[in-house]
């Protein structure tokens, strides 16, 4: 089975490819990708004309909550994968804070089997750092790694016990996987519900100080440096955290980090009318933090754009502010928000955006056949139209959830087709 994608504009950060070209796919792998027109010697079974389109590696999201098993009213592996491919994501890393948690091999196996049955996106589970995500003792990390988890995290909660984090970083080295941390000291969060600053003061909402993230990022960097382990900072949100990651990288510490579209495109000012679709953890920060995130995106400090896709039901969100669940969805809005804010309205080179969505995250989960169009790579390809201009309509999302902070935004950049292992899994109507 062969497929030729021609007449498109190829952008592959891993190969520094940026220009008109073609991609030739054979049996689920990239057989060729090159500038110019395809040689006449190719006799593809199928041809896609990508005129006017960008042809990039399939996007990879390091941070997705699929909610299954356990919270299927919010999202399922099936609905989450539909949302993923609709958003151009060929691969997603699903968080282990399910019920039960992904803390042993049988749950990993369940996720793999269900994802296989659904047959849309590649689903790579992350396992927990600690048993039952309780932060007390190490989960069976070896068993999880053997079952195929791509990272370890207690996401939703930090690993507060520094000793446990030190051992996790040391132990995970043996399997070459990163420990991902949700950096937040709960004693500094102190029941806060939004960023601490002028807006929390004015709104009378309990504030979450930015330093609650900073102290944990500082600790994690020191522990990674000491152990030689790999730490990945999830959903980085503060200016100081970005600065510390930048400095640690210069020292050679194995530290990486991800940023969400909501953190680089919104601030705590968005909370002004108590809309719970802007409530998440970490919270939307101040403008100076957002500016620091943009610098980190531009200068390479930040490695990946990840959505922290956190589906909730209307019942979870349509309540008084303090009682509303934390989190927003992002799979189906990430590309247009990132493209519009960073490239179209910002000064980010398109190649750098593609890197943040493809080979950047691929490196963090050690998937060298993902995130690139290099011959031999898996044939995951996203074809998108940067010029399409439209309004985000959360009501039309494939996700079960509607808790999207970007509903009604005028954006550019539309996913036209998502190809996973050579097969079209999504096509815009």
């Amino acid at each position: 089975m062969t497929l030729l994608i021609k007449n498109g504009h190829l952008v592959d950060a891993a190969q520094k490819l940026d220009g008109a070209g073609y991609v030739f796919i054979k049996d689920g792998s990239i057989a060729a990708s090159a500038p110019g027109t395809p040689p006449a010697s190719l006799h593809p079974d199928d041809v896609i004309d990508a005129r006017g389109m960008l042809v990039t590696p399939g996007f990879i999201d390091l941070h997705v909550h699929l909610r299954e098993p356990g919270q299927e009213s919010k999202e399922t592996i099936e609905s989450g994968c539909r949302a993923a491919v609709a958003g151009g994501f060929a691969s997603i890393v699903c968080m282990p804070n399910t019920v039960p948690t992904i803390d042993h091999a049988s749950i990993v196996k369940f996720v793999h089997l269900e994802a296989q049955r659904v047959g849309l996106a590649n689903v790579f589970p992350a396992g927990t750092v600690s048993r039952d995500r309780e932060g007390k003792e190490l989960a069976d990390i070896g068993e999880l790694a053997t079952a195929g988890v791509v990272a370890l995290t207690d996401d939703g909660a930090p690993v507060m016990d520094a000793g446990l984090m030190l051992r996790a970083l040391e132990y995970a080295r043996m399997f070459g996987i990163a420990v991902m941390d949700h950096c937040e000291d709960p004693q500094l969060t102190n029941f806060g519900v939004m960023n601490e600053g002028f807006y929390s003061t004015k709104l009378g909402l309990r504030g979450i100080p930015s330093v609650c993230e900073d102290v944990m990022v500082a600790r994690d960097i020191l522990l990674a440096e000491y152990t030689g382990g790999r730490i990945h900072i999830q959903h980085i949100s503060t200016a100081h955290a970005v600065r510390m990651v930048r400095e640690a990288k210069q020292r050679g510490v194995h530290v990486t980090c991800e940023v969400t579209p909501h953190h680089f495109s919104l601030t705590d000012a968005a909370l002004s009318d108590y809309d719970t679709n802007f409530k998440m953890r970490p919270p939307l920060r101040a403008e100076e933090d957002r500016a620091a995130l943009l610098r980190g995106i531009a200068d390479g400090t930040i490695d990946a754009i990840a959505t922290d896709h956190a589906p909730h039901t209307d019942t979870d969100k349509n309540v008084e502010f303090d009682y509303a669940a934390d989190g927003v969805i992002g799979l189906e809005s990430a590309l247009p928000v990132a493209y519009t804010k960073l490239v179209k309205e910002g000064a980010l080179p398109l190649m750098r955006l593609v890197e943040l969505l493809t080979c950047g995250p691929a490196a963090i989960i050690g998937k060298d056949k993902k995130g690139t169009l290099r011959p031999g790579a898996d044939a995951d390809v996203t074809i998108w139209n940067p010029n399409a201009s439209y309004t985000i309509d959360a009501g039309a999302f494939r996700s079960k959830a509607r808790n999207c902070p970007f509903h009604g935004w005028a954006v550019n950049g539309k996913v036209i087709r998502t190809i996973v292992a050579g097969e079209t899994k999504y096509e815009a109507v």
Binding site: F191, E196, S200, T201, K202, G204, L205, T315, D322
Partner: protein, 315 residues
């Protein structure tokens, strides 16, 4: 000016003119409570629900008396927070009440923003009787009313607000209202009780009670809300009282006309000594009386009233 708003949710989004309209209307209503028959038919045929998700004696009593003196039909619903967290949602509760075609909901809730949330979802008018640490607009209006009666024009007047600013909805509403009317506001508290970036609300911050009251025309003493603290914010009530409590010693050299206010309930001997609370500077009970007139005015205006002359309403 004519009142056009469906709800009274906060003072932040009111103009100085709207605040003045409420205060002027309140002045007309003040007289009603001095009559032998303390009742006007202004809200006859209207149904008002007092929906309190937090314990309250004073504010609820004030609203209820105001409603009854306006001839409204009144229903009191008290909901403990524990029944909320396990049972019906706020919106379901209120939509059920609205099915009775009620006209006004007076709501107190421990979660900031809840009155706005309701106002956006129902047709009835919503009056905020205090939401979390956000706003308590009728309390600030009665404070401002009291200041206006005593001091006249508030432009350029120095008002100190002392105490638990961090947890205080009274402080926030007073800050918006007073600054809109041109007063200069200083908040006075230990740093742990001053919320971040409050200067951007247009106030000065002081950690010295003596300095702040020396130049104040009035001082509003807030109650320490230990029940809202999740972590210890100061060492002890004893120490707090020494540093920030108002007693006869601290007040003895101040001019006679300096006003001492308190939104109540008072913790005698903590933020204010009994002697000061009952002393010549105190206007605490005047605040309570004025509060009734202010709440009558607010109820009257949001329920669609336009006449500013209760005499014309008959008795």
């Amino acid at each position: 000016m004519a009142w056009t708003k469906k709800d009274l949710l906060d003072l932040e989004y009111l103009t100085a003119e709207e605040i003045t309209t409420i205060l002027d209307t309140a002045r007309s209503f003040y007289e009603v409570s001095t009559r032998t028959i303390k009742k006007v038919p202004a809200l006859r045929g209207k149904t008002v629900v007092n929906l309190f998700y937090e314990a309250s004696t004073r504010t609820r009593a004030s609203f209820e008396i105001a409603e009854k003196r306006l001839s409204a039909d009144v229903l009191n619903v008290n909901v403990s927070v524990s029944s909320v967290t396990k049972g019906e949602t706020l919106l379901d509760t209120v939509k059920n009440l609205c099915a009775y075609k009620i006209d006004v909901i007076v709501i107190r809730h421990s979660v900031s923003g809840s009155p706005l949330y309701l106002a956006r979802n129902i047709e009835a008018s919503v009056i905020n009787a205090g939401d979390g640490a956000h706003e308590h607009p009728t309390q600030a209006l009665l404070d401002i009313y009291t200041l206006r009666e005593r001091l006249g024009e508030l432009k350029g007047r120095q008002i100190a607000i002392v105490g638990d600013i961090a947890h205080s909805r009274v402080a926030r509403s007073n800050i918006w209202g007073l600054t809109k009317l041109g007063a200069k506001v200083t908040v006075v508290a230990p740093p742990t009780l001053v919320p971040r970036d409050i200067e951007r609300m247009g106030v000065a911050v002081s950690h010295r009670l003596d300095e702040a009251i020396a130049r104040a025309d009035a001082v509003n003493m807030l109650r320490i809300q230990r029940e809202r603290e999740k972590q210890t914010l100061f060492p002890s009530l004893r120490e707090y009282s020494k540093l920030f409590g108002l007693d006869e010693e601290k007040i003895k050299d101040l001019p006679e006309g300096m006003l001492v206010m308190h939104p109540g309930p008072i913790n005698r001997g903590v933020e204010i000594s009994g002697a000061v609370a009952d002393g010549p500077h105190s206007v605490i009970l005047e605040q309570v009386t004025n509060g009734l007139a202010v709440r009558m005015a607010v109820l009257f205006l949001v329920a669609g009233g336009t006449s500013l002359h209760p005499e014309s309403l008959g008795t």
